[in-house]
Each structure stands twice: as structure tokens, then as C-alpha cells.
Amino acid sequence: MTSPLENMDDGALIASFLRGGEAAFEVLYRRHRGALYAFLTHLAGDSAEADEVFSETWLRTLEKLPKYRDDGKFDAWLFRIGRNYYLDRCRARQRRRNVSLDNEMPPSVPANASSEPQMQSEAKETGELISAALRKLPAEQREVFLLRQQDVAFKEIAAIQRTSVNTVLSRMQYALRALRRELAEIDH
């Protein structure tokens, strides 16, 4: 039997939490945690980095919740917070090491960063290949692809990346082309 909270939309859950309903946050968290974790893991390409960014994203989200304007796009807002924090960390590292952000290649890790013990299915293997191919993309293209994979609208992605929708569409096009090329090479 589902609780009434499970049927509430994100805005209503947030309002309930801000009025003192702690259980509402738990429902909100469980609803979005898997998608955010997948997005950050594929974005960062490193599970330790993804863990750090994931936890900090939620802590920042908590602090910003009183200012959240309910426009029905909580997930896009959450991804934006995570993505911005990840980029801040990359820039800080870049300042320390003087490495170009676009050329930075995250260390090679399995696509499924949660380290399931068994990894034998074809889909999982393909997922790893795609993940490896993704890591070779420039950061902006990788981001567009991953956000789109989470069903974030192109208009939202443009807002997150602070660019035009046309630029986002171009990046997506380049990303898909590069991925197809990469996977075609692997097949041969």
C-alpha cells in the first residue's frame, strides 16, 4: 500500500518538508537519487568523485529548498546544482594543475560504478562501451547527452548550460555522431 506522500508531486513534497514533514523529503530523495547518481557517475567517470558530488549536491539542494520555485522541473533543477558543483570542482582542479577542462579525461572506470559483483549481460557490456565512449567526448557534449538521457528537455539543458537551444541541439548531434563512430569502431 503506497503512502499518500508517494502520490504527491515534487512541489507538494517540498512544501510538506518545509512545513516539518521529514518523511516527505525521504520520498523526494528516493524518487530522484538513482537518476542523479547515474548522471553524475557518467559525467564524472569516477565513482569516488561521483559520490562526493552526489552528496554535496543534495546538501546544497537542502539549503536552497526554501527558495525553490515550483515549476514542475525539480529534476532539472537538481541536475543543474549537481552539474554546477561538478564543474566548480573541475575548475578548481584545473587551476591547481593547469589542465584544459575539455581535454581532461576522467580515469577509466566501469560504467556501473556501484560495482555489482556480476556483470555478464550484453546490455551491461554495451553500457560499459557507451560509457567509455562518452568519456572521450568533450564535457559539454557529454553533459547534453546525459541530461537528455534523463529526459531533461533541450530547453532546460540550454538553461543549465547557459546557451541557446540550437547550440544544445548541435552538441547532441555531435555527441551522437561521435558515439556511433566510436561504437562502430569497437564492433569491427
Binding site: F25, A38, D51, W58, S114
Partner: protein, 105 residues
């Protein structure tokens, strides 16, 4: 199925992260409750103080203002400075209405 759709859209989150974040949410909620309580105490106290002030204005006799000219009705010119000052002070303390004709020293 398109191949890029085999990239998992969701991944299981490690337990230690779940615990950390839910604990942070509980702390956040507790801090908000405390702030709300503090606000209620401060505003409640201020409202009570304002009410007391208004009440005392009407409930307790007002001290009449000692008008300078009323003080001067009493010829104190021959008095010492200390006596003059004492006279004014006594008048204030007793809330005498010095411009009341019935009053006489």
C-alpha cells in the same frame, strides 16, 4: 532498442550516502523548527512588552509634566541651587500639579 539506451538511467546509491543525506535532512528540519520557535519567542515577547506598555499608559496615573512655568510660580530665586533642584525633584516625585491654584507650599 537504440544502443545508447542501454546506458543505465538510474544507478543504486551506496547506503552510506543515503544515510548521510537523510541525516542531513533531519538536521536541516530540526534547525528550521528551532528558528521558527525562536522567532515565535522573540515576536511574542515583543508583542507582550508592547501590550504591557500600552496597558500601563492607561492603567497607571500619569505623572503630570512639570511645566517650567509651574515650577517658577514658586519663587525660588532666593534659594540655594541645591534647594531649587530638590524642590523640582520633589515636585516630580510627588507628581504635584504646581500650576494648581490650591497647591501651596
Amino acid at each position: 532498442m537504440k544502443r545508447y539506451e542501454t546506458l543505465p538511467k538510474e544507478l543504486p546509491v551506496p547506503d552510506f550516502l543515503n544515510e548521510k543525506i537523510l541525516r542531513a535532512a533531519a538536521d536541516f528540519s530540526a534547525r528550521r523548527r528551532q528558528k521558527a520557535l525562536h522567532r515565535r519567542i522573540v515576536f511574542g515577547g515583543a508583542a507582550a512588552a508592547a501590550a504591557m506598555l500600552i496597558f500601563s499608559f492607561f492603567a497607571f496615573p500619569q505623572r503630570r509634566e512639570i511645566k517650567p512655568q509651574a515650577v517658577m510660580r514658586q519663587d525660588v530665586s532666593g534659594w540655594s541651587a541645591i534647594d531649587q533642584e530638590s524642590f523640582v525633584l520633589c515636585a516630580e516625585l510627588n507628581s504635584c500639579n504646581l500650576w494648581d491654584e490650591e497647591f501651596s507650599i
